[in-house]
Amino acid sequence: MLSFHSITDSIDSWLNHTFSPTVALLLECTIVAIAAIALFATLGLVLVLMERKVAAFMQIRMGPNRVGPKGMFQSLADTIKLVMKEGLTPDGADKFLFNLAPFIVMIVAMLLLAPIGFASGFQIWDINIGVLYISAISSISVIGILMAGWASNNKYSLLGAMRSGAQIVSYELSAGLSILSIVVLSGSLQLSDIVGAQSNGWWIFKGHIPVIISFVIFIIAVTAETNRAPFDLAEAESELTAGFHTEYSGMKFALIFLAEYINIFIVCAIGATLFFGGWMPLHIGNWQSFNHIMDYIPSSLWFFGKTFFLIFVIMWFRWTFPRLRIDQLLQLEWKYLLPISMVNLLLVTVMAIMGWYF
């Protein structure tokens, strides 16, 4: 059966057979980099189009439908437009930091891709602290935003950056705590171990109520961390024009925009890995025949299906809920999410010790 695992294995053995190990390693790094960039480009195109279509259908509209069949090439046309545009740098800006910020944002998004398992045995870097690595790297992303906001020399950008900073720093706590509850249940930080622990059922089913609570908290917290509505105070269009990327145009804007969508993909992929079993097919107890049928669906399809379902849920939030005020936002985190997730973590720990899960 053709799978990602066998493809990577055969490429690896062929390269090691033909070249010396060092050259083979370098070539593999290049292949991985090219694959990652290709994935980013496709994801950017698909997610932007998906966002616009979902938004349109939820607002009883048609969405883009002119460029290509059913408007499928709309995001491609937008990208070409952005590439052709001039990248302006404002006069009073700190030019070096202004030009550096989009790359920082992009590099952080790229680094986050490393520990995600896309299919069975298909992972760039199975680091043994996977979950911790993700929360560490994602805490750098705020730096890119602060840098962009500061260097633009624009009051809207600065306000957006400040809001985004306060928001990301506070929502990281509850996101981290809800991730911890899964770490407690699986007993490992490594993403492949966490996926492996779900071979007889996903955590959201096995861990019942406490895990469902932590999943809800996780999805709220990551919506806030990726600066999406209803938590999009950092780029609130009606208040701050565009927040921290007001002054960006052309390719630099495209990079920031792309990184935002990549971040959404990554947090949803992590959510799918932790709560929905990553690439694990849906298995129900002792229904042997049902489980066998589910095994026939390729693992990569399972992974992408779950991830895109979560992305859809986050888009659903965006087109349903109104934006919060900054005090409401901080109140939600410090008075509701954080206490609940702390108590929930205790519950999960008790559950894990007593073995009260399936």
Partner: protein, 158 residues
């Protein structure tokens, strides 16, 4: 009782959020609710709602007769001077002079489609039409003369 309030707060919040999500989810799955029209493609069978207003027209019947008495009520009702009525004096066969419409000038470029002139008209001579393709290359073409050449007032309208 603090804890009870806290939990009811959370319950109510989650419930109201779910109600909102159910509405958008309903629209997402029911594509026939879509009200957007594919305008240049469906120009022939364009389905405009009855309340849509595109321009003011003066109704003429098959005898090229209209119902405007030239009373200038519409001109007075218009908030931004869109309508200008020029009157003349018709001489009836008995030799009596009677005020009548000479030219109904309508500045489409000033009109806000507020419908006040139609409401003000005592004889229901003018109505709002639904044509909206008004773009022209010259602004002066938007100043229109609404009564057709050779038209006259219908019999029996005072």
């Amino acid at each position: 009782m603090f804890l009870k309030d806290y939990i009811t707060d959370i319950y109510k919040g989650v419930k109201s959020l779910l109600i909102g999500m159910r509405r958008t989810g309903y629209y997402f799955t029911h594509h026939k609710e879509i009200i957007t029209q594919q305008y240049p493609d469906n120009r022939e069978e364009l389905n405009l709602p009855t309340r849509f207003r595109g321009e003011v027209i003066l109704l003429h019947d098959e005898n090229n007769e209209h119902a405007c008495t030239g009373c200038t009520a519409c001109e007075l009702a218009c908030p931004n001077g869109t309508i200008k009525i020029i009157t003349k004096f018709d001489v009836s066969p008995e030799g009596k002079k009677k005020k009548a419409l000479d030219t109904f000038i309508y500045h489409l470029e000033l009109c806000t489609m507020c419908n006040l002139c139609v409401v003000a008209c005592p004889t229901d001579a003018i109505v709002m039409a639904q044509n909206f393709e008004h773009s022209v290359y010259d602004r002066s073409k938007l100043t229109k003369k609404l009564n057709k050449p050779g038209s006259k007032i219908r019999e029996g309208i005072e």
